[in-house]
C-alpha cells in the first residue's frame, strides 16, 4: 500500500506543461517590469517570482504527491521567512 504512494510516477507531459507555464511567467515578468509602473514594479516582479516558485515546489519538487506533514513543514518554514521580512520592514518603515 505504501509502495503505491512512494512510486507515484509523474508523467513527462505534466513536466512539459509546468515548464511552459514557467517560461510564460518569466517572459510576462520581463514584459511587465519593462513598463514604467513606479513602485509597483517590485511588487509585480515578486508576485511573478512567487507564482513560479509555487509551481516549482508543487510539481518539480513533488510536494503535491508528498504526505501532508512534509507539505506543512515546508509551508511553515516559508511562512516564518515571510514573517521575518514583514517584521524587518515594520521596523524600517516606522522608525522615527
Amino acid at each position: 500500500m505504501s509502495e503505491d504512494k512512494h512510486h507515484h510516477i509523474v508523467p513527462y507531459r505534466l513536466y512539459v506543461i509546468v515548464l511552459v507555464a514557467l517560461l510564460a511567467l518569466t517572459f510576462a515578468s520581463i514584459g511587465i517590469t519593462s513598463i514604467e509602473l513606479g513602485e509597483y514594479t517590485v511588487a509585480a516582479a515578486l508576485l511573478f517570482a512567487v507564482i513560479k516558485s509555487v509551481l516549482v515546489l508543487t510539481y518539480f519538487m513533488h510536494l503535491k504527491y508528498d504526505k501532508p506533514y512534509i507539505k506543512l513543514m515546508v509551508a511553515f518554514v516559508f511562512a516564518i521567512f515571510v514573517v521575518v521580512i514583514v517584521i524587518t520592514f515594520l521596523d524600517y518603515l516606522y522608525r522615527v
Partner: protein, 209 residues
C-alpha cells in the same frame, strides 16, 4: 550478551526513502536560511538606497540574465523527467536526461563567467578602484550583493553538478534504480532549490530598474 552483540551488528542496507527525503528537506531549510538572510539584507539596503540600486541595476545585462533563467528552468524539467524515467525503468533515458541537465548547468556557469568577465573588464569587482572612487555608497552595496549572491548561487550550481555526477554513476551501475531512487530524487530536489533561488535573484537584480 547476545543482545549486546546484536546491537553492534552493522546493517548495510538502511535504505529508507522517506527519511532520506526529510533529511534533504531539512538541509534545504538551512539553505533557505542562508539565502533568506541575504535577501533580507538586499531588501533593506534597497529600501535605504532606492535610487542608487535603480541606477546600478541598469548596468546588468537583462538578456543574459533572462537566457540563464530559461536554461535553468529547462534543466529543472529535464532532471524531474529523469526521475520519471528511472521509475519507469528506462535507465538509458534517465542517464541521457541527466547528461542534458549537467550540460545545461555547465552552460549556465559559462554564461556567468562571460557576464562577470564583462563586469571585470569595466573595472567592476568588489573593492575595485573604479567602484570605490566613482560609485555612490548605494551602488557599491548593489554590486557587492550582486557578486556575493550570484557567486554563492554559482557555487551551488557547481555543488549540484558534483551531486549529479554521483547520481549519474549510481544510475549507470544500477545502485540507483526504480526501487532505490533516493539519490536521484534528492539530487533533483537540490537542483530545484538552486532553480528556486535563481527565480528570485533574476527579477531582484536584473529586472527592477
Amino acid at each position: 550478551m547476545a543482545e549486546h552483540q546484536h546491537a553492534h551488528i552493522e546493517h548495510p542496507d538502511m535504505y529508507d526513502p522517506e527519511s532520506s527525503k526529510i533529511g534533504m528537506w531539512l538541509f534545504i531549510f538551512t539553505e533557505l536560511l542562508l539565502f533568506g538572510g541575504l535577501f533580507i539584507v538586499y531588501s533593506v539596503y534597497r529600501y535605504l538606497n532606492a535610487d542608487a540600486f535603480h541606477l546600478a541595476a541598469e548596468e546588468l545585462n537583462t538578456f543574459i540574465g533572462a537566457f540563464n533563467t530559461v536554461i535553468l528552468l529547462v534543466s529543472s524539467m529535464t532532471i524531474a523527467m529523469s526521475t520519471t524515467a528511472l521509475q519507469k525503468g528506462h535507465k538509458k533515458v534517465a542517464i541521457a536526461l541527466l547528461v542534458i541537465t549537467f550540460l545545461i548547468g555547465i552552460g549556465f556557469l559559462v554564461n556567468k563567467y562571460i557576464e562577470w568577465g564583462v563586469k571585470f573588464s569595466h573595472g567592476i569587482w568588489p573593492g575595485s578602484e573604479q567602484m570605490l572612487n566613482e560609485m555612490s555608497q548605494g551602488e557599491i552595496l548593489f554590486f557587492g550583493l550582486y557578486f556575493v549572491m550570484t557567486g554563492l548561487h554559482a557555487l551551488h550550481i557547481i555543488v549540484g553538478l558534483i551531486i549529479m555526477g554521483f547520481a549519474m554513476r549510481g544510475v549507470a551501475n544500477g545502485k540507483v534504480n526504480a526501487k532505490r531512487p533516493s539519490l536521484l530524487d534528492n539530487c533533483g530536489l537540490y537542483w530545484h532549490l538552486v532553480d528556486l533561488i535563481w527565480i528570485f535573484l533574476f527579477p531582484l537584480f536584473y529586472l527592477i530598474h
